[in-house]
Symmetry: C2
Subunit: 268 residues, 2 copies
């Protein structure tokens, strides 16, 4: 069982930032990644629809014999993780709890800003998870739906991107946040620009590295860590193939994604 | 048959700009509109996937007994219209040919710019349709994937939107275009901003009003016009419902969309 692969799914290729962080921290693990590119994005869709899609995504990964599943997508974690954990026996974790715990690990954290898609912010799942773990927090979420298309357009260093970030972040900076949670798997690519724009004392917490650390702890506790030394394999399956996705996958992974396969999901 | 409704489909609610233009020009027609919001956008997906989705969309409209179908989506027209016209006997028209004919109606047209999603530009369908109808044209297409999210964010009058439009349009203005084709059903909402940014002698050709004029002609020739005087009904079906879609629908229609129903498509 230790030697089985880890399964990851996301609406698209953004979840590969989580895979990259996991490969850095757990180099012996094999990874099977499913991106539901035919139906992306999940961020603007209803909870009911997202739960149905997530169920089909998990079904695909289970058919590949994975030992554990990471929901590498904030929207799917927000809307579907509890029902997935109820339905399946295999360990399934999301990207939200690791981020929340990392944000609260610093006892001085008091004023937290959250940026994410409309779906994640509207679900209030971050706000709720933070507020139930620590009282007296000031939490302020801002939906930032233009950031994913800007990243995908590869306009990260453009002046308009900085203008848009300044516009989105102004209410958070005005409120004096000490921590900014990047609650979308695309956003780690914005870290250099965010560091330029934000006051120096604002701490950034992203979904990718926090999720990798949490996964390592969980696998260790369950005695499921793959400790082989010959390097993990990565297998990417997408429900729709296009050059753009392969190009994006390369930017998120910071290396070639290798051969990408077309996945066919079974309706749930 | 004249009294049957017209069927429209799009990946989302953008095609409602076409419905609005049709309601202005053909007030007696009833309209059944299908937006495949669960799987939007089509613009970044592969031709094969888009053909499958379009086939399912047409199946839904046929089950409602429509007399003719408008593919109110540039990407679906680009990739799926020929196969749909081959497969079904009912009249099916798209949004591309009407725009192309309108652009070429002015005999002085020589230098044409096209803005659209990555999928539409990459399909070269506009470039091809223009070039085969008139020789000696200079045609220049630019993929402008940020415009749909900017419109959906309702940032139409914001300075960053003007900056992004200036950046996208600069190569076209530098090339001295005399005509700009707005090859996406969302873009009619940008007309006031485009008129502000573009040189005064650049003519704008949009997908909505040109499609309505073409539809009127086609229905007249086939003796399928509904000439009743009591006003057409509009029935909107979406594969995923959310407040955001209803709010967007209202902006595209410039009036309340009424009750929106959830559509379930049958896999093709």
């Amino acid at each position: 069982m230790k030697n089985a692969a880890l399964g990851f799914f996301d609406s698209g290729v953004g979840g590969l930032t989580v895979v990259r962080a996991v490969q850095d921290l757990l180099p012996g693990e094999d990874v099977i990644y499913l991106g539901d590119t035919a139906r992306l994005p999940y961020g603007s869709k209803s909870p009911e629809t997202i739960r149905q899609f997530a169920d089909e995504d998990v079904g695909f990964l289970l058919s590949k014999g994975v030992k554990a599943i990471v929901v590498a997508c904030n929207t799917a974690t927000a809307h579907a993780l509890p029902s997935l954990q109820e339905r399946y026996r295999i360990p399934i974790m999301g990207v939200i709890l690791p981020g929340v715990e990392a944000a609260l690990a610093d006892p001085d954290t008091e004023r937290i800003g959250i940026i994410a898609t409309r779906g994640t912010i509207g679900s209030h799942v971050y706000q709720h998870a933070l507020a139930t773990r620590k009282t007296g927090l000031m939490i302020h979420g801002v939906a930032t739906p233009l950031l994913v298309p800007l990243i995908e357009e590869n306009w990260i260093s453009e002046e308009v991107t900085k203008d848009i970030l300044r516009k989105y972040l102004k209410p958070l900076i005005d409120k004096g946040i000490d921590t900014l949670m990047l609650a979308c798997t695309h956003y780690p690519l914005l870290v250099p620009v965010l560091e330029e724009i934000l006051p120096a004392d604002v701490r950034l917490v992203d979904s990718a590295s926090t999720c990798a650390a949490h996964l390592k702890k969980m696998l260790g506790e369950m005695d499921l860590l793959n400790v082989k030394n010959d390097g993990g394999k990565l297998e990417i399956h997408l429900t729709d193939l296009s050059e753009q996705f392969e190009e994006l996958a390369k930017r998120f992974l910071r290396k070639s994604p290798g051969k990408v396969r077309r996945a066919v999901l079974v309706p749930g």
